[in-house]
Amino acid sequence: MKIGLEIHVALPTKTKLFCSDSTEEAHEPNVNVCPTCMGFPGSRPTLNKEAVRVAKSVSIALNCDITNRISFIRKVYFYPDLPKSFQITQLSECIGKGGFIELEKKKIHLRRVQIEEDPARIIRSEGHTLIDFNRSGIPLIEVVTEPDITTEEELRETIFTLRTILYYQGIDINQEIKADLNISLGTERVEVKNVTGIKNLISAAEYEISRQNAILLNNGKIEVETRSFDEKSNTTKSSRKKESDEEYGFIFEPDLGFYSTEDLETTPVEMPTRAAFELARSHNSSYKTILELIAFDKDALGILYKYEKKYDFKSLIATLEIAKRFNETKDANVFEELLKLVINGIAINQETVNKIKKGERIEIRKFSKDEIDAAILEMLKAEKDIVKRYSKNKNVINFIVGTVSRKYGIQPRDVIKRVEILIDTLQKVEV
């Protein structure tokens, strides 16, 4: 199986790509418009440098070669959402070429990153269709991957990784992601166009995989075609059979000429993936766990960097998981207090967090041997079969220790010392 993606991402600029209209969400349709983004005769595009700058930063983050002299092309097709009946986009002189998205175990190679304008929004209702040009001319980048994705899991990881890289570039694409999906289980390529949202993208892929699988299992032939995704039924439908490639009649966009990107200053790129790799390696920890913690939380990464040398890394990760649950990664001091409590085996709840934030001291209670034994025994009684499971799999001890220490706030190392002894005694009694 081979999957390639074309992912469209809106760039966070104040104004549109080729005019000075606002990109902000408007309360009314057709208010952020001007002759240029409406395609009026006589109007002309002028390039938004900030959009190019952001696109350059993203391209660097995606390991692309940066094109020093970019140009644009006209992609001609007739559709009511396209005011000029051509889209200004990029092809051979696009901002980024090559590059890759680094997953945990492989690289998804990229063909290119291109800058282009968003068409208008089409609003379909019963009996009529409306067009809102507020969206027309919003700057987008399109990230085009090679068909390197070979499993559904890789598809998820690719999207997740791209999202976190973009997040660190100041672009949050949680909902706005729009993508075309090229997917082939056999030799023929099927394109699913205009899928909006991550959930739908995964569903579209899942459906396409099972659809194409079923055809291949019945010795059928998969047709080269363009399909669209139907959100209601979670299926894809054929929208166009392809006899030949689509004809867009690309020509150079003469109104924009060439633009030098060399002097555009990009902000230094912080790569969540690289950070996760390095932290995982130096602390012998899980890449995936770390990446998930920091993916959409720069403060979390800051905390890891701040305390990785001072404290035990496992406790640090455990505390970060807790802190994220309570949404407390902003204040490094609060975090350090939490971390000390975790290291001392104190269970954290909302009350604890509130106390810390008010600057109140949390008493670290000392437990006697009898108290610890009572707590363990209570837990063992409550969880039937736990002793049996333990005798089959010694790792069950982690579960027991975790549960007891969380419930009673007893330090895990004190629990561990007693658990084995107590279970031994219990087993003897049963015999």
Binding site: T46, F78, K84, G249, F250, I251, G257
Partner: protein
């Protein structure tokens, strides 16, 4: 040197001056089809007309196309804004070949007629601009050229027509034909008037990325180069008149040199490939539902809907859309469009070399002014061949100007002078010196004081 602008400013105008002009103009217009719109409200200032493919705020701008009927842009073209700012007064929108597609001014609803003899063409595509300049004594025409649309009508109507370096003037507000070739320029009764308005309009405009901040120069050249391949294409009567003209020019201390430039043969096909490729994308936006001609039946499928709108295009527009769409289609793009771009690069280099130490001179048109009935019989390729002399400087973005150098049987004949990029004023200076030894004849002097 004669400046009609300063002459106008120094003279007293009678109270009903503008009313009289409008009256007379309307009468002549009914016969010659020079204007699409005449501004009744003009009551002061030096009048300027605007080719109908250049936007004037609040005034219908149709590029003489039915598909743009009722299109009223909410903005001024930068050049128009500068004219208004400098105290000129808007007189009206001038007729043209639809979207600039034509060399004779007849590819539109109301074919333009030559003011000297209305059986003859006025030339195109800036037909109305040339007629207006031939009719009015005090007037400047804002026109536009893609492949010769200023030179051709200026020559046939006996006025001075100037096309600047590509990018020397902002194209903001121009309804595009071919963006890499379109230039806004001027027509007037003397080179001096053109110099005045060129100074006011040139320069970088933030609204047009291709506009240049490079200052225009006036570097004279003592040598005039004649390209022999162009002379071979010239009608015999024109040729002998042109040779007589060259003799007279020698008296102004110019040296004449003949050179062969075989590559110039490729300029017509290469020009038509690039210009139609761009034009076909520019015309794609006319789909009949946001401005201009509106399709009434909104229940139609989109493909049928915009197809109905696009039926409004004239035959020549349709031809260029088909041609342009073909030459940029994937299977033949390298063979046509890409190759044509290479030819342009090559021609620019060759011609640039000649312009280092000389100006290029040729007749503006290879033929005498034809009759309207004659050109209607021409095939498209015969028509396109009429642009042989105007295409090279237009295709390559060199500034050039056409001016009258003689009259044959009462009809003016024009020559075209070409200078190096951004040496625009040198073309005007050359015409200045010609005007010192030659008097233009104008049949009409509407608005004379």
């Amino acid at each position: 040197m004669r400046s009609y602008i300063s002459e106008f400013e120094s003279k007293e105008k009678p109270k009903d001056y503008y009313t009289k002009i409008i009256e007379e103009l309307k009468r002549k217009n009914a016969e010659l089809n020079a204007f699409n719109i005449i501004n009744d409200e003009i009551n002061s200032g030096f009048p300027f007309s605007v080719k109908d493919n250049i936007c004037v705020n609040g005034v219908e701008s149709t590029a003489s196309s039915k598909i743009l009927k009722t299109y009223t842009p909410p903005f001024d073209a930068t050049v128009v804004e500068k004219f208004k700012h400098n105290g000129f007064s808007f007189l009206g929108k001038t007729n043209m070949d639809e979207f600039g597609f034509g060399s004779f001014g007849i590819n539109c609803e109301k074919p333009a007629k030559n003011p000297i003899n209305s059986d003859y063409v006025a030339g195109g595509s800036s037909s109305g601009a040339a007629i207006a300049t031939a009719l009015l004594k005090y007037h400047i025409a804002v026109a536009e050229s893609t492949g010769g649309s200023i030179s051709a009508p200026a020559a046939f109507c006996g006025v001075v027509g100037f096309t600047p370096t590509y990018g020397a003037l902002s194209r903001y507000g121009l309804i595009d034909y071919a963006n890499s070739l379109d230039k806004i320029g001027f027509m007037a009764r003397s080179a001096a008037d053109i110099r005045t308005v060129l100074k006011q309009c040139t320069g970088r405009d933030g609204k047009d990325t291709t506009s240049s901040s490079q200052p225009l120069t006036d570097n004279p050249k003592a040598k005039l180069t004649v390209i022999t391949e162009l002379m071979d294409k010239t009608d015999e009567k024109i040729k002998s008149a042109f040779l007589r003209f060259l003799d007279k020019i020698k008296s102004l201390d110019y040296k004449i040199e003949y050179v062969s430039l075989p590559e110039i043969e490729h300029s017509i096909p290469a020009y038509y490939i690039v210009s139609t490729a761009e034009a076909s994308t520019n015309l794609a936006r006319y789909t009949g539902f946001k401005y201009g001609f509106k399709v009434e039946d909104f229940s139609k499928k989109y493909n049928d809907f915009f197809t109905e709108a696009r039926n409004q295009f004239g035959m020549e527009a349709k031809r260029r859309i088909v041609l342009g769409t073909f030459v940029r289609s994937a299977s033949v793009k390298d063979k046509y469009y890409v190759k044509a771009l290479k030819i342009r690069r090559l021609l620019i280099n060759r011609i640039k070399r000649l312009l280092k130490d000389s100006l290029l001179i040729s007749p503006t048109m290879p033929i005498q002014t034809p009759k309207i009935d004659e050109v209607k019989k021409l095939s498209p390729t015969q028509s396109y061949a009429m642009d042989a002399f105007t295409i090279p400087p237009n295709f390559c973005g060199f500034p050039h100007a056409s001016f009258t150098y003689d009259y044959l049987a009462g009809m003016p004949i024009g020559a075209q002078i070409v200078t190096d990029q951004f040496n625009d004023y040198a073309a005007l200076s050359f015409i200045d010196s010609w005007e010192n030894i030659f008097d233009y004849k104008f049949k009409y002097n509407i608005g004379a004081l």
